[in-house]
Amino acid sequence: MATYDNKIWLLKNIRDAFIATDDTGLCEIVMAGEDFSKVFQNKAIEEKKRIREGRLMQPGPSKHKDGMGDISEEEIGKEIVTQFDPYPDMDDSEDDDPLCGSYVRYEDLGGYRPRSNTAQWLDKKEQALKKAAKIKVIKWEDSSLTADQLNEMFSKFEVKKPEKQKSLLAEQLQNCPNLPYRQYLEYAKFDGTAQLGLPTKSFKIFMTMLPEKHQAYPLVVCVIASAKIKDLIGFTCYKYSIEHPDISLESVHDYGLCIAEDDGEVDWAFPCLDANEPCSKFGFTCLGLVELKSKSAMAQPPSSIPEDGMSGAFHVFSKVTDSGQSHQNPSRHNTGGSSTSEAVLSALKALNEGGDADTGKMQSHILATEAPQYKAYKVYLQRKVRSNTCVQLGISLYRIEIEPLVTNKHAFWSRSKYFLHSIDSVAWCQILETRGTRTTFRIVYSPNHNAVYHERNNAGNSTMFHQNAIFKLHDFECDHDMAKEIVEKVNTILDLRNSPCRREYKTAKEKKLQTRRSFHTKHLS
């Protein structure tokens, strides 16, 4: 293990190992330009130069003291050992250059023990034999046929003028005028399914940019290993449009490939794979095809629903009363009506115009149609004096329900109260802050508007406004994605309802904003 004495060699190998085994390619980006092995080597050269110059300046006796006698300048240089040197005792020859060879080999990292050459050779031989057994071989041999037989073989045929015929090809061409995959045709040559002697790579691609019903199964594609990521995207589009000619896809430049889980869940935390890198570089087999537009939207911090421009469009909902409607499925009453869908459409329009215009239309559509449906979340209710308690937060078109999930019934001090707010008493919902993996969000409500629901306990909730209405709040904590979802859901519902309570709160907030700007920038912006 003498080779491990070499610092530079080790550094180089650790670096290579990181780059080779990191399928995300991030290591390489991070370490770009910081090749310490090279830095060390350069430093060693500088140091040597410095020391050599220093020695040459010294008079002769010092050399004799070292017992070196009459040595040439180069020899002095060779003898100098610096702290940056890779191999203290070795000459710098081409073969032993510590930087020329690295132990890490990309192809050896497949996870399988490489088989010996002989075993591989034997395998190949056996396969070739098996193949050959199926092939009929015809050798060139001189004929032993009689003249009569030959005459029969080569008898003259009468040449007839061929009839005019209709072509099946022409018919097929007429029946097949539209070829949606034609725009991706240039990528067809990256097909790896039948290549001879070319390394190939297979991927499971989830078409995450398509509506959910088309995402059930991943598309398995096999491309030649030298294909770049952009070629893989193109070939995926090509293959998908052949199999699903009814679904139109965008230009390949609008798509990116992201790392995905086995179940098709895209990992949005990572950037899209670099389109110009060969796909052989990446070790993932599951990838998600995403729209670059929505990818950039996903990566942005959540934006709150715009405050104005919403009123007026939803007057139809303010008339809806929640009496006698089932708790389980309140959404039923609000789907299907033409005025409803119009309202949803205008809500979408307002959403898209007002705030994040980049958010995919499909995304907001799903949001708007799913938002009124009842959904429960497990979050932590923040309390001022005691520790946070785990509660179930149920949100529907009509209510917000906070139900404590008590583990220890005897510990009365840790018991939290049950809250039930009519949605028309809820005024506001927003994300407050993100700390680490936890995000806190706030729901503001007014007990005044909560006439139908009895509020059993107001303790622990601070009063915010003392005008016509009293506004109180709950603060919750959960992970970022869930907080985002809840806030979006509640805001969509609030915007749909546009209750007097919400309007009142908005007005009050605007007034506050004018008078106590500093408070609001801190609290609500």
Binding site: I135, K136, K161, P162, K166, L168, L185
Partner: protein
């Protein structure tokens, strides 16, 4: 051929082969590659679909192989052995009784792949230069052998007699075509010239009919349409040209500057469409009447040097 095999999918079959050592079967109307067959160790110089439509024969360096079009087998089913050089062309007798080839070993050969070895008929015709082109006369009794020295040998199969034609000195014959009625023979050479003879008239020998300066560069193939009204010549000048056989004027120039050399061509049965295969690894389908590009076939990694097309009458 029933044609409903998993591989071919229809009785219309387009087969291409080239420098990437593969042979591809295409769905001609959609442009989708149905299958890829392996042609190891060699490029594909020539392709021909057997008269039954069951097999495709491919010839290349030291190899002649036959592939089953109806199955999904990517490997050849018949391998012809004993060849030392490039085989440039392959073709079938119309009843599938025998097969003929020509190659750089200075010979044209007759093969009989179906019979048992002792009844196998073989025949060999020796010339003085590498054979670039072989073409069977529609009456099945004569093979035209074109060689590198510029000679066309008319090899009579029953008598083994031969007659020679030398259209141009110091120019190699690249391809020979005979129209389906057996009345015209065309040959192209490496200077881009095309020579046409009339056959089967009152005179016993071919009578020179026309000399066309078809291309400015190397000509590679020539083929008559099934109705004998057109002749296509392909060339290294990035084009395929379609000539009227009535007056030998240019009907259509099918040019695409990115396609580089156009190696091979094939007409549809109604003579309306023409396939070409070229160095840019694409095969193309042209509407000869309109002069428009109808389809492109992309999938080869390297140049397409040979193609074969089998149409179906409806």
């Amino acid at each position: 051929m029933s044609g409903d095999g998993s591989g071919s999918g229809s009785t219309v079959a387009l087969v291409t082969g080239g420098y990437d050592h593969t042979i591809k079967l295409w769905q001609a109307h959609s442009g989708v590659c149905l299958r890829t067959m392996q042609h190891p160790d060699s490029q594909v110089n020539g392709l021909e679909i057997s008269p039954t439509g069951q097999m495709v024969a491919a010839c290349g360096y030291q190899h002649i192989r036959m592939y089953d079009l109806a199955s999904a087998n990517p490997d050849p089913v018949v391998n012809f052995e004993g060849i030392t050089k490039n085989v440039s062309r392959v073709g079938f007798q119309k009843n599938d009784q025998w097969m003929y080839t020509g190659g750089e070993d200075w010979t044209a050969r007759i093969w009989d792949p179906r019979a048992a070895p002792q009844f196998r008929c073989t025949k060999i015709f020796q010339v003085q230069a590498p054979v670039n082109a072989v073409m069977l006369h529609p009456d099945q009794s004569q093979i035209m052998v074109g060689d590198q020295s510029g000679i066309i040998h008319m090899w009579d199969l029953s008598t083994d007699q031969n007659e020679q034609l030398i259209p141009e000195a110091e120019a190699s014959i690249q391809d020979i075509a005979i129209d389906p009625e057996g009345k015209m023979m065309a040959a192209v050479n490496n200077k881009g010239n095309c020579y046409v003879w009339s056959l089967g008239g009152s005179a016993p020998h071919p009578v020179p009919l026309k000399h066309i300066v078809a291309h400015s560069k190397y000509a590679l193939r020539c083929k008559f349409s099934l109705d004998s009204t057109m002749l296509v010549t392909t060339s290294g000048d990035c084009s395929a040209k379609v000539w009227r056989t009535s007056d030998w004027t240019l009907l259509r120039e099918l040019r695409n500057d990115t396609q580089r050399w156009v190696w091979d061509a094939a007409f549809s049965i109604d003579s309306r469409y023409l396939f070409t295969g070229s160095s840019d690894s694409y095969a193309r389908l042209w509407d000869v009447e309109k002069g428009t590009l109808e389809r492109e076939y992309c999938g080869h990694q390297k140049a397409i040097t040979a193609l074969a097309f089998r149409d179906q009458a409806v």
